[in-house]
Amino acid sequence: MGRINEAFSSAKAENRAAFIAYLTAGFPNETTFANHALDILEVADILEIGLPYSDPLGDGPTIQKSSEQVLAQGMTTAKTFELIAELRKKTDKALLVMTYYNPIYCHKDGEAGFLKRLKEAGADGVILPDLPPDQADTLIPLARELKVDTVFLVAPTSTDARLKLVTEACRGFIYAVSVTGVTGARTALPQDVPDLVRRTKAFSTLPVAVGFGVSGFDTAKPIAEVADGVVVGSALIKTIAEGEDLKALSSEIARACQR
């Protein structure tokens, strides 16, 4: 069983939702990033590491700005993998890479080379918000071969036909987007989240994690009641950017994940 599956199994055994955290690679700088990652993994089950992209059209201002900043500081694909490899020496928790398709498509050794390096660095899966599974004909077989989990997204607008197609292509877990929109902390989430989780689960036995918009206990709690995992990104990045208490926020989310 892969690390991602294990993370969800243990969370379930402990009657709680898994806490999936997102951090932009090398934000605000490489050393602080590594420390933050390890701090968060004290309470989180899975870490998504954002490989920064120049044109993150699925992201709101918080993650856009963090991506722009680390790219300006010289962050690259190779350096992101180095940061992951360093983390892997210190944690056995599941790590995923979240990025857009062009950095993979343009990798000097192609999609296969990208996934191979991702795996060698110690990451367990990949999340690509601009690559629906029907555009991933070449990536999916390569990922299966290398045992890299492919996490695709379902959305409130997804039809049953899309839910079927997307969930079948997922490995590890299914990422359900809570709102029609981009990433970013919100004070309240739509009423139809439980409905999307239920509809998704009708097509798959994989765990369903809900993300986009989770900002703290109040937004995390209702998701933890209905989903197998809660994803938090922008709120963490914002906390880091503003020099606020990251450990306090992570503990708050972890607490919200308890059922």
């Binding site: 992209y53 120049s54 044109d55 993150p56 059209l57 699925g58 709101g60 201002p61 856009q64 722009e68 790219l71 690259t76 694909t77 857009y100 398709y101 062009n102 950095p103 993979i104 498509y105 343009c106 990798h107 000097k108 918000p129 601009d130 690559l131 629906p132 029907d134 555009q135 695709f152 997204l153 379902v154 959305a155 409130p156 607008t157 997804s158 039809t159 899309r162 997307v166 987007v177 709102v179 029609t180 929109g181 981009v182």
Partner: protein
């Protein structure tokens, strides 16, 4: 289907596709369905052509540029006068088409991206005409360069939303428009201005713009007794005006196809890195929903584009152009900022027509090409827009260049 490409999955050869967040996929399915049923229906097309005729002012003239022909001393040069359309460029052909479709689909709100502001103005115009609100995303740098168009959009009742992320140009305006669309997908129609974006946009925009090429065929037959010229020249940024005039010719059998030449913006020169020549100097990649030729670094980070013309200042080129380039159905060359400014001045002086800086790239290439051709040969240049919007920027850049030359 008007043309043999794309296939059912929205691929022109390998290019195109739908690389967008899952949230948008059902909206794209809905749009594809609406376009195939409503958008190709005789009733819709009759209404579309009614507006083209009575509102846009089509057919646009195919003008025999006798002075320019004499000046070059070679092939006969015709100008397809898209600059004479209402709002001053070819963009209105597509904006009217998409807006009509949106209206029939029951959408309540328009959004659009714009570079030079021509598509923004065209979308704002269509919104005013059909009584809907339009929000136009425009990079902060372009807001500065194209102040006149910003005011025009506001006058037309649109909201202009300046974009401050990334390079603050068309690429970033497009990102922001897509973000708006993901957020308001249920009631908003995104009017994409070029032959870019996820399927069915490159096909739909191409179809609406292909009126340029079909008219050219008819008009050239009257003028020259033949439908097909020897050469067709058009500037290429994202590529909508070029596709509009190329498409009806590109899929003709090999023996009948004219030479199609797309002119990209070489900016400060292809070696400088500061250009917008995605085919001439780029590579394959994915941007704004499509696989296409684009400019990116080794890590797949999109490179900033540069052109003196805001409308060509885009780091990618539509999937159908990418396909034409690979298949040899069209040729792509590039002209630098300086050449474009020469084209801008020459056409103004010789023909009394001030072209858009975008179209000036095609004019400059024609100035070089026509003298090498025989007098019985025919070139058609797509004059995609008029230059009124560019006068201030052209003056500024020409003054800078003169100052530089003075120093050397």
């Amino acid at each position: 289907m008007l043309f043999p490409q794309p296939n059912a999955k929205g691929r022109f050869g390998i290019y195109g596709g739908r690389y967008v967040p899952e949230t948008l996929i059902p909206a794209l399915d809905e749009l594809s369905e609406a376009y195939q049923t409503i958008g190709r229906s005789p009733d819709f097309l009759a209404e579309y052509h009614h507006y083209l005729k009575t509102y846009v002012g089509r057919p646009s003239l195919l003008y025999y540029a006798e002075n320019l022909t004499r000046y070059c001393g070679g092939a006969k040069i015709y100008l397809k006068r898209e600059d004479l359309n209402h709002t001053g460029a070819h963009k209105i052909n597509n904006a009217i088409g998409q807006a009509l479709l949106a209206k029939r689909m029951g959408k309540k709100r328009f959004i659009a991206e714009t570079g030079a502001g021509q598509h923004g103005v065209a979308s704002a115009t269509a919104a005013a005409l059909f009584g809907l609100h339009c929000t136009v995303y425009m990079g902060e740098e372009d807001v500065r360069r194209q102040a006149l168009n910003v005011y025009r959009m506001k006058l037309l009742g649109a909201t202009v939303s300046p974009v401050t992320s990334g390079t603050r140009t068309l690429k970033d305006a497009t990102n922001e428009a897509i973000r708006d669309w993901v957020t308001h997908v249920r009631d908003t129609f995104y009017i994409i201005g070029s032959v870019i974006g996820p399927h069915p946009y490159p096909m739909m925009t191409r179809d609406f713009q292909s009126v340029i090429g079909f008219e050219t065929m008819e008009q050239l037959e009257l003028a020259e007794g033949r439908k097909v010229p020897d050469v067709v020249v058009a500037c290429v940024g994202g590529g909508s005006n070029a596709i509009g005039i190329f498409a009806p010719f590109a899929y003709l059998p090999d023996a009948e196809r004219p030479k199609l030449i797309g002119v990209e913006a070489a900016g400060h020169g292809l070696q400088s890195g500061a250009h917008s020549a995605s085919i001439s100097a780029g590579k394959r990649g994915v941007l704004h929903g499509s696989l296409m030729y684009l400019m990116s670094d080794d890590d797949g980070q999109i490179s900033p584009a540069h052109s003196v013309s805001a409308g060509l200042d885009y780091p990618g080129v539509g999937p159908e152009h990418s396909y034409f380039a690979d298949a040899g159905l069209a040729n792509y060359v590039s002209v630098a900022d300086e050449g474009a400014l020469i084209g801008f001045k020459k056409l103004s002086e010789i023909e009394g027509i001030i072209p858009a800086l975008e179209s000036s790239h095609a004019i400059y290439h024609t100035l070089e090409l026509a003298p090498t051709m025989a007098k019985d040969q025919v070139i058609v240049v797509n004059l995609s827009g008029r230059g009124d919007k560019d006068v201030t920027e052209a003056m500024r850049v020409m003054n800078l260049m003169e100052a530089d030359n003075g120093k050397n």
